[in-house]
Each structure stands twice: as C-alpha cells, then as structure tokens.
C-alpha cells in the first residue's frame, strides 16, 4: 500500500530534520570561520577542527538531523524529504527576524515565499513512489 498521507509522528520527524540541519550548519560555520585557513597540504588540521566547541555542537545537531533523516527516508522518497525539509531555512530566517530583530531584505522575503510555495507543492503529493507488486506476492 502506498503511504500517501503521513502520520503525525512522521511530520514531527520531518520537522526535526528541517530545524536541526540549518542550525547545525550555522554552528559549523561559526566554528570554522574562526580558524586559520587550512591548506590541502595540512588536511589533517580538518580532523583537529572537529574537536573545537562550536564544531562539536554543530556535529551533535547534525547527528540528530541524520537519525531523523534516515528514518524519514525509510518511508518517504528522497525527492519528497529534501524539498519538504528545506522549510527549516524559512524557520531560521523568521526566528532571526522576529526573535533577534534582524532585517530581512526583499530578496530574502521572496526566497521565503518561494520555499513555502515549493514545500506546499510537494506536501500535497504522495510521499512515496508506488512500486508494482512483486510477482508471487499477489
């Protein structure tokens, strides 16, 4: 049977995927932008970067993201999960506007509108591609 409509707990998992990924990336950026430039000749320094506080916090969030992401992929298509979870970028932008009182440019508002419409589009459709029944299982 195709899993056309998601259950409440499945929407909750998509929400965790949405929020943890952009927040984790932001923490990683904060950690990496404070480090001196790393060259390919000293690529081992990338491993050392993993043990700095901001990067550790970013990785913890990204582990949450990955656990919920693979769970979502077990019952929904990749082309459903990825656009649906992009809504996290909108949440982060809205939080920065109304919580941190940062200014949002016109192009960013357009971006928010496009993502919202795109997520609405994909959410209206089935979450999983229907596969033909395997011979002998009918």
């Amino acid at each position: 049977m195709a899993h056309e409509k998601l259950k409440l707990n499945q929407y909750a998992i998509l929400a965790v995927v949405s929020v943890s990924a952009p927040l984790g990336d932001t923490l990683l950026d904060r950690g990496m932008s404070r480090m001196p430039a790393i060259s390919l000749a000293h690529a081992g320094a990338l491993v050392a970067a993993v043990f700095t506080p901001w990067v550790i916090a970013g990785i913890a969030l990204l582990i949450c993201f990955f656990a919920s992401y693979i769970t979502a992929l077990s019952w929904a298509d990749l082309t459903y999960v990825l656009p649906a979870t992009a809504f996290g970028n909108v949440l982060v932008a809205l939080l920065s506007r109304f919580w941190l009182h940062e200014q949002i440019s016109l192009s960013r508002w357009v971006g928010i509108a496009l993502i919202t419409v795109g997520v609405g589009f994909v959410a209206q459709g089935p979450s999983l591609t229907e596969r033909p029944a395997v011979e002998g299982s009918r």
């Binding site: 077990s74 298509d77 656009p83 992009a86 971006g111 419409v117 795109g118």
Partner: protein, 132 residues
C-alpha cells in the same frame, strides 16, 4: 589571525562541485539503503530499537552512503575555511536539490513528476535567495 587568501573562480567552483557531488552520491546511496531496509517504524515495532539499529548498521549500502556524506562534510568544512558561508551555503544547498532530483529519478526510479520538479526548482531558487 589574517583573513583566508583569495581563491580564483575555478577553485571556488571545484570546492562547491566536490560538496555537491559527494552529497548527492551519499544521499542517493543512503536513500537506496533505507528503502532496502523498509519502514524503520515498522522494523522497530517488530524487533525493537535494537533490531532497527541492527537493520541499519548491517546494511553495506548504508555505509557506502555514509562514507560519501562524510566526504561531503569534510569538503564543506574545507570550503567554509576558504570561502564565505554566503557563497558556499546557497550554491551547495540549491544545486544539491536539483542534482538529487535528477539522481533520484535515474538511480532510485522515483516518480519525479511535474509537481516535484516544480517544488525542487522553487525551493532551489528560494534557498539561493534566502541564504545568499
């Protein structure tokens, strides 16, 4: 601590391409692995949390996917160390949406219909505008 040295456009493109290619390969392999395992909620209902974890960690395809996602992660760290987030985030996030849609249609045989293409393109442009 001084700013990172300037990099030329080819180096910028190569760094972003590495993130996008590794990420797309990793996501397609991971999605294939999870489809082969089946609905994790049902696996957990039958075999418990240990059974669900065992099903995931005994799937070779899953480790292939994680390997490429790890490569994408280190490529991202490397890129962030040389390029501003305002360039790396929109370029890699938006391009990955489109490359994933193409790869999912070809390799995972997903039904990427007009609705999903429209969503992928709208979200791709939206993510670019939002993160730039």
């Amino acid at each position: 601590m001084g700013p990172a040295p300037e990099v030329n456009h080819w180096a910028e493109a190569a760094m972003i391409a590495a993130v996008v290619l590794c990420s797309t390969t990793g996501e397609v392999l991971t999605a294939a692995a999870m489809k082969s395992i089946g609905d994790l909620d049902e696996v957990r209902a039958h075999s418990g949390m240990k059974g669900a974890i065992r099903a995931v960690v005994t799937c070779p395809l899953f480790f292939a996917g994680v390997g490429f996602l790890a490569l994408a992660f280190f490529s991202l760290l490397f890129a962030l160390n040389h390029l501003p987030l305002s360039l790396v985030a929109p370029a890699s996030a938006s391009l990955t949406l489109v490359t994933n849609a193409i790869a999912a249609k070809i390799f995972l045989k997903e039904n990427v219909d007009r609705r999903r293409w429209t969503a992928a393109v709208l979200v791709c442009i939206g993510v670019y505008l939002l993160t730039h």
